[in-house]
């Protein structure tokens, strides 16, 4: 696992929480009730399951194993755990999940992680290093991400903030965000809007509507915006009306901790 900064506990009136918990809670809140959500394993899955247990009981969880409308009582370790198939509204073959459900734009939100992300929201999960054939680090690869990033109506990315992850240009474009700037998605024929939120352990980045460049729009409680700027490998723009994420509530934290304890 890529090493990040030690979680900095925040202190609320009722309780304390970690930066990791804040990130997961912020991601969960971004999912509206009833949305159809294509879920990757790990933190996206934790966040989506948290949303379903708190404000979005009708969230439709779709995993690339072909499980549509999964309602797992415990967090799955993989995208194909038995609990997903057991609780799904439908289990479809893998070609079908991509061709019939994802490709035509039937899925509202794609939830992705990243090893690297750049100022235009392009994602790398393939190789670190300058040479594809002789990489410094070989990563798992694309999986479903390129088509999720292309065809979901919008994309939310969850990634821990560090200069290694937030780079000026990704070493390899596995999944397209805004390419090299405004207009690229339309030119490439990508049907979805692209990444609308990038949620980190320090705050939230959103594409500037004019330049498509990822811009810091919120910090989590207690985070100095300079820290987010310092943890970003390009001169990170900060929105003039910088917001502060509401801290995790007791119900959110209780539900999250219960989920993670069952893992």
């Amino acid at each position: 696992m890529a090493g990040g900064a030690r979680a900095e506990p925040g202190t609320g009136a009722m309780t304390t929480w970690t930066a990791d918990e804040m990130m997961t809670v912020a991601a969960a809140r971004a999912l509206r009730d009833g949305a159809r959500c294509f879920v990757g394993i790990g933190r996206p899955s934790t966040a989506a399951n948290l949303a379903r247990r708190t404000h979005a009981p009708n969230l439709v969880l779709i995993y690339e194993s072909g499980t549509i409308g999964a309602k797992p009582a415990t967090l799955p370790l993989s995208i194909g755990d038995g609990v997903l198939a057991d609780t799904a509204d439908a289990v479809v073959p893998v070609p079908e999940i991509f061709n019939y459900w994802l490709q035509p734009g039937r899925i509202d939100v794609g939830f992705l992680g990243a090893a690297q992300i750049d100022r235009y929201g392009n994602i790398n999960t393939t190789v670190i290093g300058d040479h594809y054939g002789d990489p410094t680090v070989r990563l798992p690869g694309a999986g479903g991400a390129p088509e999720i990033a292309a065809s979901c109506r919008e994309v939310i990315v969850i990634v821990k903030h560090s200069p290694r992850a937030f780079v000026e240009r990704v070493d390899f474009v596995t999944s397209v965000g805004y390419g090299s700037g405004p207009g690229d998605r339309a030119r490439l024929g990508l049907t979805g809007r692209g990444p609308v939120l990038v949620i980190t352990d320090l705050g939230v980045l959103e594409p500037d509507p004019r330049t498509a460049e990822l811009t810091l729009t919120h910090v989590h409680p207690g985070v100095d915006p300079a820290r987010a700027v310092g943890a970003t490998g390009w001169p990170l723009a900060v929105a003039p009306s910088l917001g502060v994420t509401p801290e995790p509530g007791p119900a959110e934290l209780a539900a999250l901790r219960l989920l993670e304890r069952q893992d």
């Binding site: 198939a85 061709n99 393939t126």
Partner: protein
């Protein structure tokens, strides 16, 4: 014709050095025991094909069975990287590994084309990514009706397709259910096939959502209870998540891996 055979017999008959072999399973019903048998028989220079190469491919790559990997996501699901795969790609141990890299949508469609008797499949995919620059089997294609530019990927027709399933009857008809992944596609796309099953029964009673592969569409069937472990067979076993987590440490180190392989695969004799 769905001949019921022992696992060693079927693997000996089907898998030759240099063959293109696909052992498929999307988390569920992964034919792990068949992969171990290929390792025991010392097969070399295989082109291994799989959407989600996980632990069993890590083991086969580390054991030196593979020359090339055709894939879309090579990792230990929910845990992290595949260390034997990484060692082969980054440092050529135990042998250099050529890779042909796709996305899941591309690989799934390649199997569909292979099963359909078509030379290629069409999808909306890969556009704007760096994959087409590094993978020769991704090309643009223009729709003859609308003029829209889409992506073409060639059919996959492995020499041998291998999957695990819940059950077969004595005639070699196969039944599987739960997450069925690309099981049907890989068996139909491959020139010859092997299905390992949890049990051979007198009669296949109907199951909701089950896939049936008629005996005449399968080459060999071998009864291998637990043959998907640490993956699982819905209705028979649970995914052994502890094993997946333990694999990370075992596979990180060449010596630990080699000792593991000797103890758990090479020195084990499967039931005849």
């Amino acid at each position: 014709m769905g001949v019921i055979a022992s696992l060693p017999e079927a693997v000996t008959e089907l898998v030759r050095d240099g063959a293109t072999v696909a052992l498929e399973g999307f988390t569920h019903l992964i034919p792990v025991a068949a992969g171990h048998e290929i390792i025991r028989q010392g097969r070399r220079d295989l082109t291994l094909v799989r959407m989600t190469p996980d632990i069993v491919y890590d083991q086969m790559i580390g054991a030196g069975c593979a020359r090339k990997l055709v894939f879309s996501w090579a990792g230990n699901p929910g845990v992290g990287s595949l260390h034997r795969f990484r060692d082969a790609v980054q440092r050529g141990w135990p042998a250099p590994l050529e890779i042909e890299e796709h996305s899941h949508a591309g690989m799934a469609n390649r199997y569909v084309a292979g099963a359909s008797g078509l030379p290629f499949a069409v999808l909306r995919g890969y556009v704007g990514t760096d994959l087409p620059a590094h993978t020769a089997t991704i090309k643009p294609i223009t729709c003859p009706f609308t003029g829209e530019v889409l992506t073409a990927v060639p059919a996959l027709n492995p020499d041998v397709g291998i999957v695990h399933a819940q059950r077969a009857d004595r005639a070699g008809n196969v039944q599987l259910w739960g997450i069925t992944g690309v099981h049907k596609e890989v068996v139909l796309a491959s020139h010859r096939s092997l299905v390992t099953v949890e049990e051979v029964v007198d009669e296949l009673d109907p199951r909701p959502g089950a896939v049936i592969l008629p005996s005449w569409a399968v080459t060999y069937v071998a009864e291998v209870p637990g043959g998907a472990h640490p993956s699982y067979a819905m209705g028979y076993s649970e995914r052994d998540n502890d094993y997946y987590q333990a694999w990370d440490a075992i596979s990180r180190d060449r010596e630990a891996f080699t000792a593991w392989l000797e103890e758990h695969v090479r020195s084990r004799v499967p039931a005849p």
